[in-house]
């Protein structure tokens, strides 16, 4: 098959050029932030840093990591992410499996019970009143539990089970007297590594980056996740508690601290996702497959 005609070279050149420009608009801002975070506070303040750090130093990282609120936020975020992701995964994997079973009684009705929640909701205040009534306000659960189940993800995992785990395999296991629990734990879960990996990533990123729940349900600053802590720096531009210098020195620090807080809060997720990238297509295509 002859795919190459005379226009092909020009065409490929234009395609690659467009993509390189798009790539640069994404990479350059991130490099700019990284370079600034590694430069001295003076150079950052006077806007001398572009894509290569000037007067290399980890000063701003020291100021950020010496701050108690940042450390507490970091610890909280790590805990919330681990606990929350576990809870979300358990709810998602179990319910998706039950829904994927064609012999589940009232399957239509139960599916409807799940799907309906994607389109109607009580809204911010009624949900707040429920969270309040459950005593979750100003507890870690107020941050973790509301929003911990994504019905969209349940549908994605359900479709995965339906399309990749042969029904005949499950049937023969049942004939051999395998209970549903054993079937789920010993046959279905071991065959679901790709989808579990991608769900873990989706939920973990969700918890790591979440801000809304901490805004609505948490008032106690000892419970704040990292995102809530750095929003003071990034949005309110409040730098009290950083460094020990005079007010004017602190004013000079603001930009450095902002860039550094961006790096320390984003880096873990930016390092994590390329490892699981090969599963993405599966993870977001599955839901729409049946749509």
């Amino acid at each position: 098959m002859k795919y190459y005609d005379s226009n092909d070279k020009t065409f490929n050149f234009i395609i690659n050029l467009i993509l390189i420009i798009i790539g640069l608009t994404i990479v350059l801002p991130l490099l700019y932030v990284l370079a600034n975070s590694l430069s001295s506070i003076d150079e950052v303040f006077y806007g001398n840093v572009w894509l290569i750090p000037k007067s290399w130093t980890l000063d701003s990282y020291r100021y950020i990591l010496e701050n108690d609120n940042i450390l507490i936020g970091y610890r909280n975020t790590i805990l919330y992410t681990i606990i929350g992701t576990s809870i979300s995964l358990i709810m998602t994997l179990t319910s998706a499996y039950a829904l994927s079973r064609r012999d589940l009684k009232h399957r239509k009705f139960i599916s409807f019970f799940f799907i309906l929640t994607m389109f109607i909701s009580g809204g911010m205040i009624p949900t707040y009143l429920v969270v309040d009534a459950l005593g979750m306000i100003d507890t870690p659960w107020g941050f973790i539990i509301p929003g911990s189940l994504s019905v969209w993800n349940v549908l994605v995992v359900k479709t995965y089970y339906e399309t990749t785990i042969p029904w005949e395999l499950q049937e023969s296991a049942m004939i051999d007297g395998c209970s549903d629990f054993k079937l789920f734990l010993n046959i279905v879960i071991p065959l679901s590594a790709p989808i579990i990996a991608v769900m873990t990533l989706f939920y973990a990123v969700g918890y790591w980056n979440s801000y809304f729940n901490s805004l609505i349900y948490l008032n106690d600053s000892n419970l704040f996740p990292l995102q809530r802590v750095i929003s003071d720096l990034l949005v309110s531009e409040d730098i009290t508690g950083f460094g020990s210098g005079s007010y004017s020195e602190q004013g000079m620090m603001l930009k450095s601290l902002q860039f550094t807080s961006i790096i320390i809060s984003s880096l873990p997720m930016l390092l994590l996702y390329p490892m699981l990238q090969k599963y993405f297509t599966k993870g977001i295509m599955m839901g729409s497959l049946k749509g």
Binding site: D8, N12, I15, N16, L19, I22, G23, T25, I26, P29, Y32, G47, M91, T92, T94, S95, Y97, A98, L99, R101, D103, F113, F119, I120, S121, G122, G123, M124, I125, P126, V130, L134, I145, P146, E171, S179, D180, W208, N209, S210, F212, L215, S231, L234, V235, E237, Q258, F259, I262, S265, S266, M269, Y273, P274, Q277, T281, I284, M285, S288, G291
Partner: protein
């Protein structure tokens, strides 16, 4: 086919955690909507607070801002939808033409990165890059001889900043679904087209693009159903006194009246309910239109 098994209760046990969650956090709040028709106070609670009918809705529509807030919500969503629908499609079509698998994978990895950045950090990037005095964008403007612009202080720029930063963040991510669809296009179609003398542009236009329309339609209808749920977090974090005139949307207003200014939960619920009802109507009409025009819909 197995007809009857004695331990099928185990399937219901597997369902239980999710069902309890949905009952508590999705269905119970629906009951809480009654407070939109009450004058709710925490002491009397949801069962004893006096009923006031539609007074809270009337209060909203009588207020000076009501129509402005509704207009802001719709305008932001409308423009976002207008830009967010075609751009990931175009990006996927271009990416699909790349011949080198390594280059393709590299661009994909790069383009997904912004999606993993939090809203707080995104707004932080906007604030530092577009700062009037110290932002890098104005720095570049001065270098190439343009005037410094007050990006954050001028309300006219708010919507553009919101939408374009959104594209920067999610273009790569939403192209995944389209790229996945393009991979499944039957190669025989392309081979036949090449024999008939079709150029690459023609093959993109007449083979690849039509292949994406069904997925795009589904995503578009779903997005219509979320029209009124413009990203609360991002808008709330981007708000400042000089852009409030165009940046106040229903969800931020609900938050403000319920938690910051008056703690009027009934009013907040009423406004939130209005939001949900408009969403549902938009979803239903988008689906209706799509069924008529495309013979395709969610149901």
């Amino acid at each position: 086919m197995i007809k009857r098994r004695k331990n099928s209760w185990q399937l219901y046990v597997l369902l239980l955690p999710a069902v309890i969650y949905l009952l508590l956090f999705a269905y119970l709040p629906l009951g809480g909507i009654v407070i939109a028709f009450q004058d709710y106070n925490p002491i009397q609670g949801i069962f004893e607070s006096p009923l006031v009918g539609v007074a809270k809705f009337k209060m909203f529509f009588d207020s000076f801002y009501a129509w402005n807030i509704i207009k802001n919500t719709l305008l932001i969503s409308f423009f976002a939808l207008l830009v967010n629908t075609p751009i990931p499609i175009i990006f996927a079509l271009i990416l699909n033409e790349v011949r080198s698998p390594k280059f393709k994978k590299f661009i994909q990895t790069v383009s997904y990165a912004p999606f993993f950045i939090s809203v707080v950090v995104m707004v932080g990037l906007i604030n530092t890059f577009l700062n009037f005095d110290s932002g890098v964008v104005n720095q570049i403007f001065e270098l190439i001889g343009l005037d410094k612009t007050d990006w954050l202080g001028n309300e006219n720029y708010f919507r553009s900043i919101y939408i374009f930063s959104g594209i920067w963040q999610s273009m790569g991510w939403w192209s995944i679904i389209y790229l996945g669809t393009l991979v499944n296009v039957d190669p025989a179609l392309h081979e036949a087209a090449v024999i008939d003398g079709a150029t690459r542009l023609q093959r993109i236009r007449y083979i690849n693009l039509p292949a994406l329309i069904p997925v795009a339609t589904v995503l578009f209808i779903l997005a219509m159903g979320q029209m009124m749920n413009v990203g609360f977090e991002k808008i709330y974090l981007m708000q400042n006194p000089s852009n409030l005139e165009v940046s106040e949307v229903i969800s931020t207003y609900t938050y403000r009246v319920s938690f910051l200014t008056s703690r009027d939960f009934s009013f907040g619920t009423a406004v939130g309910l209005l939001n949900s009802v408009i969403n549902l109507l938009l979803l239903i009409s988008a689906n209706f239109i799509s069924n008529k025009v495309n013979n395709q819909g969610l149901w």
